[in-house]
Subunit: 729 residues, 2 copies
């Protein structure tokens, strides 16, 4: 069972200072079976899945996976090369893709600025997202507020449950996540025990309760008592279900201390992960920065329903920022405090079988599935299956969920993800929120392992129901029934004139209690009344907790009425994208180095998303090139193509090479033959092949490919090849 699966966490910390990403040296251990996923906040927490997309942890499928291999050796570039994270990060820094925010002030953990290449990459990717989802699927785009009143998030459950338990080291002020602390220490001790047993080293048996320097001792090979080993293993297996008090007891029982100081820690306290603030100056409007974009969409439900003429299914979509006050963010872009999400809320009639009108058009698309059963058996083998078969066999719960998996898949393909590094992982039963029917994560493989980048969950009617209950505002759909329905029901009717003098101020309470009675109960009571002339019913908040009612006051009768309208709370299927994680994976997937020269790295962004489309390089500094350069620049501008002119003194090869790191897909060279009216050369970044053609032809072809209507292969077939006279690279 996944519930009892052990979780390894990253024992890493971001280096301080101007270090935008963790270096590979910080990396500890990942198994190829592992997924980087999210943490269940508590067993009953309603937002365990995509809404918690920032959670970042490694569930190990079984306790017996043996030695844990460093993923870095398994993870390859698209060209099959070893992936060198340090070199990759150096490129990101050098080319200003991103950096830690506020560097002159010492930088802040978990906050990143995007520099020009990454900001533009994000804009291009999100334009495609918008076209792929919002326009193509006719979703209703929404922009809701980030500042969110306390009451909204109280109702949704975030105030109470969107929290981690923390222990404070009272001497240093350091804050440690309680579950991480317990795992770290117990796993270290178990490892020490294994070493001790494996090496058959004579080691003193020890009682952990009395141990003074637990962690330090545990680092060496220390044999544990067999019963202690069992206790530790049981604790680790059930840690997910522990309350704060449970963890406090464990920490005390096993004398768990801060491993870096060996200080005793304070008992666990629950620390909410939302950023709190207040609206206005009165102190009467406490608020949070939203932890997900979903709640605003749910509260806009009446507007959405109006906008779609009361027709379901309908979907809203929101591209916006959310915030999580991570207490010790690590893992670079994968776990940050402020992040862009793109969330869809697809509202369906729960009685429709969650069919999707366009499912037939995608039936035959094949997807890579890592299902629940495989994971339970400790495996990670992906099954390739058509979505039609997956839904038919109930592997995927319903058509709507299935349709979205296909759309997520084709989106990833469209933006140039390495599709061999994508899988859909089904949530284990205990990973899901209690109400969810099924949930699948789109995971992308990177040097960090398999990372959840999109969640696709069924939130059922949960959110709409709790907000309706709290506010009294209807968040239901009302629709005429095709056929009016005759309903026979037991009714309990209070004769208020007669009951008033007797019940007095309790009358309303009694009436409410009668309303709450089930059909079965009412039928039973009608029989008692018949027999005994009076009945007793339980009424909360009255003296004695029950009231005796005689047949003068209340009558039970079966009545018939005709219903013409149906009222229901829709179910919600929610594909939820963590945009930063998608972008990070995309950058890793795009990165490779030229054969035989690891220093010459390339970012193979697709022309449609590349931040800069064209590199313009005059052969050398020569005023005679100025007019043709001006003409070229004007034509590129008219075609709305972004470009960069590199007029620096270095060789053309060098200029191409250093701009390959920015992922510029095309290079146009102006040379002396250009001045003789022989056109310009066009170079393809990935193959370094070139063609030669007139300025107009070249610009037109590039514009087509950058608009997604063509490819280099097409250009190479159409325009004459050109062999560079000087060896380019």
């Amino acid at each position: 069972m996944f519930a009892s699966a052990q979780r390894l966490i990253f024992n890493r910390a971001l280096k301080s200072g101007p270090h935008p990403l963790p270096s590979s040296a910080d990396f500890v251990s990942l198994n190829e079976n592992t997924s980087i996923s999210l943490l269940r906040r508590s067993p009953a927490c309603p937002f365990t899945t995509t809404s918690a997309i920032q959670r970042f942890e490694v569930p190990v499928r079984t306790r017996n996976t043996g030695t844990v291999a460093n993923m870095a050796t398994d993870y390859k570039t698209i060209k099959g090369q070893e992936f060198d994270r340090a070199a990759f990060e150096s490129l990101l820094r050098r080319k200003c893709f991103l950096w830690q925010s506020f560097e002159p002030y010492g930088a802040v953990k978990g906050l990143f600025d995007y520099g020009p290449p990454l900001e533009t990459l994000e804009a291009e990717v999100m334009n495609i997202w918008r076209d792929h989802f919002i326009r193509h699927e006719k979703m209703m785009a929404l922009k809701c507020s980030m500042l969110t009143p306390y009451e909204v998030l109280k109702t949704s459950g975030h105030v109470d449950k969107f929290a981690d338990y923390m222990c404070k080291d009272p001497k240093t002020g350091e804050i440690l996540r309680s579950d991480h602390l317990i795992k770290d220490v117990l796993e270290t001790r178990l490892k020490g025990d294994k070493e001790a047993r494996g090496e058959k080293v004579e080691a003193t048996e020890e009682d952990p309760k009395k141990k003074k320097k637990a962690s330090k001792l545990a680092k060496t090979a220390v044999k544990l008592d067999d019963t202690v080993v069992k206790e530790y293993e049981h604790t680790l297996a059930t840690l997910d279900d522990c309350t704060g008090d449970d963890m406090g007891a464990i920490i005390k029982k096993y004398d768990i201390r801060n491993p870096s100081t060996n200080n005793e820690v304070e008992p666990p306290v629950s620390v909410n992960l939302m950023f709190q603030t207040q609206i206005g100056a009165t102190g009467k409007e406490p608020a949070f920065l939203r932890p997900e974009t979903a709640q605003g969409q749910f509260l806009s439900f009446p507007k959405l329903l109006e906008f779609s003429d009361n027709q379901l299914p309908m979907a809203s979509a929101s591209i916006g920022y959310s915030f999580r006050n991570e207490l010790s963010p690590r893992s670079g872009l994968l776990r940050v405090r402020e992040f862009l999400m793109a969330e869809v809320e697809h509202f369906v009639d729960p009685e429709s079988g969650k069919k999707h009108p366009k499912f037939a058009t995608v039936r035959d698309v094949k997807l890579p599935f890592l299902d629940r059963n495989t994971q339970m058996a400790g495996g990670s083998k992906v099954t390739i299956m058509s979505i039609g078969e997956a839904v038919d066999t109930k592997l995927v719960d319903n058509e709507t969920l299935g349709y979205f998996l296909v759309r997520i898949h084709s989106f990833m393909e469209k933006i140039g993800m390495d599709m061999t590094k994508l899988r859909f992982r089904q949530h284990m039963a205990n990973e899901m929120a209690h109400y969810a029917a099924d949930c699948w994560d789109c995971e992308l493989q990177s040097s960090y392992g398999w990372v959840e980048c999109v969640g696709c969950a069924d939130r059922s009617a949960y959110d709409l129901s709790v907000h309706e209950k709290r506010t009294g505002v209807s968040l239901k759909v009302r629709e005429p029934l095709k056929e009016p329905v005759r309903i026979e029901e037991w009714q309990a009717t209070l004769d208020k004139k007669k009951s008033g003098p007797k019940l007095k101020k309790d009358q309303a309470k009694v009436e409410a209690a009668l309303k709450e009675l089930t059909q079965e109960m009412k039928e039973k009571l009608s029989i008692s009344m018949e027999k005994e002339g009076s009945v007793k019913i339980a009424v909360a908040d009255v003296a004695g907790g029950e009231v005796t009612l005689d047949k003068e006051i209340v009558t039970f009768a079966k009545e018939t009425r005709t219903e013409t309208m149906r009222e229901y709370t829709p179910n919600v299927i929610e594909p939820s994208f963590g945009v930063g994680r998608v972008l990070y994976s995309l950058m890793e997937h795009a990165y490779w180095t030229r054969e035989g020269d690891a220093a010459r790295s390339v970012m193979s962004f697709k022309p449609t998303i590349a931040p800069i489309k064209v590199l313009v390089v005059p052969l050398q500094k020569d005023v005679r090139f100025a007019p043709v350069l001006a003409e070229l620049e004007q034509k590129l501008d008219e075609a709305q193509l972004s470009f960069k002119v590199d007029q620096s003194g270095v060789s053309i090869g060098k200029r191409y090479s250093r701009n390959d790191e920015l992922g510029i897909p095309f290079g146009i060279t102006v040379d002396y033959e250009t001045l003789e009216g022989k056109g310009v050369t066009l170079r393809d970044r990935d193959s370094t092949k070139q063609v030669r053609a007139s300025l107009d032809e070249v610009v037109a072809e590039v514009a087509k490919v950058c608009a997604g209507k063509g490819s280099w292969e097409g250009i190479a077939k159409k325009l004459p090849a050109f062999e560079s006279k000087e060896a380019e690279e």
Copy 2:
């Protein structure tokens, strides 16, 4: 002088409940001379201009503008009709353009959700912004964090000065802006006085110090003593320069009370307008939500300089959210607590004369200027002048500022703003920050009057300098001098061996003090030293505040060195867009009603920015239309055109009409002639004229116009006209 100009403020309050915008009935008074602009936070406040784009106040140019006309009567639609704000707002609500956030929880003032039409409109407008500024001008796109550490905003001045003074009504807890309170009460009293004098009503003279019910009395015509009138007028004229204590004294002196309760108020306290929160759980990282995007850009300066190969001028651009904790937000979308900004920071060498390389290309563009002198004379007449002339005559300070005004102007034209409702207003001397050379606002006219939507200011070297000073991180440009420069300078050199025993722990302080001496001072001291053998210099933090140094210890000498590098802090020119205000103005400009039928309103969005491009209407419900509808939908999808199908049972005319309110520019009707292979009709929203052509032709033409490459006029010339058989409208 503007400094002494009186300001009228909106005496309006947003109605509570589901009322997205203030209705026209709430509107009090605006003069056509007035501008809705920003408030100077304090005389020395460094962010008076565009960074305070949310400020929203009405400076009246002179005290003598006479009767104040209701702007609503002056403001017309593009068709010259009276603008009916209530009808316009009703359309925005009905068509789900926007609403107050969290309505089921009672809504929160100053927070709005954008529904599908407005969200998409914003996306389209921002895509054009991105293309017009970032791509075309080769700006470096940046995304910086919203969460901003305390220290950053302390340095920038926001912690101390980004505040309003507030008075609390201790009985109700109501919070009133102190300056608003004083103005409201004194102006009401002055008005009462005028009435009393104008109507020659006998009224008891009153001493405001003793008055018990000031505001209630003032509402009637009460004559004031002549000296009191003068005092009130002086107070109002100088209110902008008052400190909190000054205002406290005024409130006491004139017995100013909360007008709605007549309660005395507590003395003014400064309330910062930033949303405060904290990063992490330790309490050691206080932070704010940024009040502007600029600071992140300044702190990224070293990266930007690296990315642009150390070449200036360069510009960064950031599209992102900022936050202001407005204490009593009013005026709908024009003053909100969370808002999108698009800010450019253009860095120039201050010694370059702020020339712009592309200025020659825009020299002849004519712009509408409302200059400082005209405003000082109480006028509002706009001068149309070419930007070339404006810069030549120093009306506009420099080429770079001028170039941006032209680009702002052409952007507004591109997105379809009514260009007769646009002007550039120059800031008065006292409106600008102390360091600014010149500042112009792009103001758009709406039913609220002239509203600042873009500011274009010169922030000089202020921000980079203060951050450098605080952090010690260089935010300067270093560039090689074309010619090395020989510099002759007086140097003061301490002989540390000899000075050490004498100065002891003060040595470093003395050394620093010597370094700080001006050239002039050093020369003077060298003469004194020559004469007297010792000098006295002031040294802070040493006993006595000065130190006597003899010639054994320090020598003053003129030395010569050669400089090969130049170091300087760039100046910053900052065009700053308040996106919400631009969108609101755009919606008002696009709104009009059909001749003779005020109930049939139209939103004339340009096809390039319209949220939905095509309305598809089958003549009536008929299964025979299904195949051609499917074909049409596929073709529209392939052309990436957003569309809406209206299959409801009402007449075609009604269907067109109700979708005109969404601003859908084109309508395609499928009728029985379509089934006979006679194509479809294409209808133009604005003229309601139609053409008929094949499905492919129609889709191709629409796609061209929506991409900005053509117009309805072009289509009407090319394709055959079609007269509707049934009178459409």
